[in-house]
Amino acid sequence: MNSIDLTMNRIDKAFNNLRKRGQKALITYITAGNPNLEATADLIIEMEKAGADIIELGIPYSDPLADGPVIQRASARALNNGIKIADIMNMVRSVRQVTPIPLIYLVYYNSVFKYGIERFVKEAHDVGIDGIIVPDLPLEERGEVFDLSKQYGIHLIPLVAPTSHERIARIVENAGGFVYCVSTTGVTGERDEIQTNIKGYMEEVSRYTDMPKAIGFGISSPDMVSQLKDYCDGIIMGSAIVSLIDKAANKDEMLENVSRFVKSIKQVLQ
């Protein structure tokens, strides 16, 4: 590894490499600790093998108000297992020994706040996390998390929505990683179609920034991915994968079904 590699965030590296190859990123989400932490570690490796470029790990929370029923249930299941933030940090630390895949925490603000903002960001960095997404921390409230993330070299991923409009300029200012473009108004969860005028929306976001742009929320099938991929640099899929995890009868079936699904999406993006 050369010195540039050492200082460059893995998310940026991933997008640079994909761009060179003319490919779009596949970003997958799973809730840490659902059904258990060992499974989470195995799923990270399995999804990477199947073609995921970046993985989001949800930190389970009692009141996930940006999430639909699938991720709400996954969160509740993980909490019923007694999963603590320290357990998740430890799991990430050991996974990081075996894979360089960019890893992002999706975490509600109260978890970060109560843990201690600096303690959370520093530990996340130390175990090998590359980015943080906080779905309930808008521009107006993000200052402290934003500054500390910069200080520790991880990206606080900026979120924009179809309702953001003129706010986009300030949301993306000085931000790093990629712009998480929420596809539609609403919470996470599979949908049959997305009502937003994606072309117009993504053009609007592009007027404000050259950062990579990934679309997430409600994307459930290879068909939808093929409709969306030309307008963005990456696709984020969560509930569709979590559903597969929840439906599997045993661990082998879970890994196999998730792997097959991730491959099917990756194929569309290549």
Partner: protein, 394 residues
Amino acid sequence: MKNIPGRFGIFGGQYVPETVMNALIELEREFNAAIQDEDFMEEYRYYLREYSGRPTPLYFARNLTEKLGGAKVYLKREDLNHTGAHKINNVLGQILLARRMGKRRVIAETGAGQHGVATATGAAMFGMECEIFMGKEDVRRQALNVFRMRLLGAKVHSVESGTGTLKDAVNEAIRDWVTRVEDTFYVIGSVVGPHPYPTIVREFQKVIGEEARAQILEKEGRLPDYVIACVGGGSNAMGIFHPFYHDKEVKLIGVEAAGLGLETGKHAATMAMGSVGVLHGMKTLLLQDSEGQVMPVHSISAGLDYPGVGPEHAYYKEIGRAEYVAVTDREAVEAFVELSRTEGIIPALESAHAVAYALKLVPQLPKDKIVIVNLSGRGDKDVETVASLPEVEL
């Protein structure tokens, strides 16, 4: 145009998904314009007067005063409002605001069902589509109010997630609002949620305190020594406290639900046992564990069964402007029965918490002291719950 501050000390703020930020900004702008628009305020006062029946009396509770043998007790009769509680004050304001903003669909969360009924009522009168989110546990224990909402034309969603109580109803209402933010107005029922809601709800509830202050000056020629109100989210309490804020000689006491007792862990006493955290878009005091997971709460009263509290109350506590105490389910039920028998007034179980604290405080005070208890709602909805208790014989 003057801006309203988004924080009360360290409390308050806007911890919500980006999707609704522009809606909150627009809401703040429209609210600021509305409360400085004399026509708007006149219409609000018109509906308070002609539709809800304000002003509500400040009733001297002679029998209770004689029985307790201490300070004089006055009851601010918010239970006499149309729909049976103070909730309608805020709903009329917010529905008028919704109409001014061109929204045709309103949603609301409800705990005891009083805010849901008030919202359904306002929506019926103004011809708006109305959907109410209510925890499944509350749907069960407040069945009468569910029927009332449906009768008024509202759709009631039973919320199964989490503990199936008020907290989860708020989560679900926020999720709906995020989904339909462009055509929907979220009528929040208490002084909670992201800025500007705590301020909006306080401004539409402060009529309680403004009236009470004028009424006591007229009846007694002076201000009261104590103002007592129950606190779940805290809208009736903030409504009566706020106009007394600068009257430093008036002691403000908020009464939370101690449930089965603070030592049992089954309570909703946020002020007594909570720590700083973020829930429902606001930084406030919260019943949570060391990882920030919100803890299950308990109160016999559905309206107080909430793990957070309005940020302005957290601020009042921090600066010492108000004192917060807690009374148990049992004490509240005793007060429920006591006020029914002594004054012929059946209080809501929520309001019975304020009455219960007055029953303890008043006998210790000299006869020249004056106590106002905010009787925030009527108890018809709770009769079934109370009748089912083994210790109560009806």
